[in-house]
């Protein structure tokens, strides 16, 4: 883990290459996190990977999160590891939900999905993990070689890990909720 000054130096280095990329840095529970502008995600990742004194050449995890009702709603987390120094840094790209405040109320046949640049060219391991983020959260990764569902059936409709997605399943009758289904035994 870089210490707080180290994190600020990283943020400064990324900012020098492209202004307005790093929105914020955070250091919580000993985890160094860079919150970056989604437009500059590839620049930040490339800088962290290719700068010799950084060398975060290993993407240990890529995952999405839904922070409903917060705005921006979605985030994609990148956990990078420098294997020489055993140091980790997190990069978080916040994504606005384009369907939020949709006046058409679902009448628009084209679903509006949040988009982000794919980092498969930088980290080949991101291939399946971006597909998983797409499968469960509906985040479209621009430039992904084969963006389709990975865990759910390919004809599945919906983004099941979003917080506004119904849990599914069937109500189960117990003694405590028996009263909600009167004459259930008939």
């Amino acid at each position: 883990m870089p210490d707080p000054p180290g994190l600020e130096l990283i943020a400064q280095g990324i900012e020098e290459g492209r202004q307005g990329t790093v929105i914020e840095t955070s250091m919580e529970h000993g985890r160094a996190t860079l919150i970056v502008n989604p437009d500059g995600i590839l620049h930040a990742l490339t800088w962290l990977r290719d700068t010799p004194e950084q060398g975060y050449r290993f993407l240990s995890s890529l995952h999405a999160a839904d922070y409903l009702p917060a705005t921006p709603r979605f985030a994609v987390h990148y956990e990078l590891l420098s294997r020489e120094r055993i140091e980790r840094v997190n990069v978080k790209a916040l994504l606005v939900d384009p369907a939020a405040g949709d006046e058409t109320n679902g009448a628009d046949p084209v679903e509006k999905l949040p988009e982000l640049d794919s980092c498969v060219a930088l980290y080949p391991t991101a291939d399946f993990q971006e597909r998983e983020a797409y499968d469960f959260f509906g985040i479209v990764f621009r430039g992904h070689p084969d963006l389709r569902r990975i865990a759910m059936p390919e004809d599945y409709v919906g983004w099941p890990q979003r917080r506004d997605f119904p849990i599914g399943g069937e109500p189960v009758l117990f003694t405590h909720n028996e009263i909600e289904a009167p004459r259930w035994f008939e």
């Binding site: 865990a151 759910m152 059936p153 099941p160 849990i167 399943g169």
Partner: protein
């Protein structure tokens, strides 16, 4: 002890007399009646089926671990003649659904079931394959009997191997106890036979009832008038 030895000796002598052709008349009748058991072909067939169930080598989730330990010497499913786990559905009689069935797996399970030859049975092992269990969510089928017929539900999470063996015994009882009940009767599917569709138009209600009655009383020597002779093998346990 001495008496037993004497009676054994007496029986041996009678058997020797029979083989020599010395037993005649009432003695011969008595001898034959003592040693014969009469039953129907159906009963013998189902007795054989129930004691030689070939389960399918098929595991879905954690229950499969318990299913594996069924074969070990501690539980020894071989005591009930079901130790021959077949690696292909075409040789298997019993499909044990050992785990949760996800909606992505459901078509595969159904296909495996369809490839099994009749007569075939299905055991839903554990809470997940019976009702979805703890997985009340978007990814898991809430009970495998939503898309295929299930004969035995074994509760538990996971069920102990003893529970599965108890379920197997119940299944054997089902196979033996209702020799007339084919799967079409069990699942209310009378009228879906190939030969029933050969009748002009859709089969009428009377025709279906007639067919059901004919199946219920059918003897192996007297096939029902609705059934061409060549179809008899296709009917499986309905005959």
């Amino acid at each position: 002890m001495e008496v037993e030895r004497e009676s054994l000796r007496a029986r041996q002598l009678r058997a020797r007399d029979l083989l020599r052709g010395d037993l005649e008349g009432r003695d011969l009748e008595e001898y034959v009646e003592e040693r014969l058991l009469t039953t129907t072909l159906e009963n013998v067939l189902n007795w054989g089926r129930s004691n030689a169930i070939f389960p399918m080598t098929f595991g879905l989730a954690c229950c499969a671990i318990e299913q594996i330990s069924l074969v070990t010497s501690r539980y020894d499913i071989a005591r009930f003649g079901a130790e021959a786990f077949r690696a292909t559905p075409r040789q298997a009689d019993l499909l044990i659904l050992s785990g949760r069935v996800s909606i992505k797996m459901a078509p595969v399970v159904r296909r495996v079931y369809d490839q099994m030859l009749e007569p075939r049975w299905v055991m839903a092992m554990g809470a997940c394959s019976s009702s979805g269990g703890m997985f009340a969510n978007y990814a898991v089928v809430q009970g495998a009997d939503k898309f295929m017929p299930v004969d035995i539900h074994v509760p538990g999470c996971p069920p102990r191997p003893e529970a599965v063996l108890h379920g197997l015994n119940k299944l054997q009882k089902l196979i033996r106890g209702q020799p007339d009940l084919g799967w079409r009767q069990r699942y209310n599917a009378v009228g879906t036979e190939e030969w029933a569709r050969f009748e002009e138009g859709k089969p009428t209600k009377e025709a279906l009832e007639r067919a059901a009655a004919a199946i219920r009383v059918a003897k192996p020597t007297a096939p029902s008038p609705h059934m061409p002779a060549g179809e008899a093998e296709d009917m499986g346990d309905d005959v």
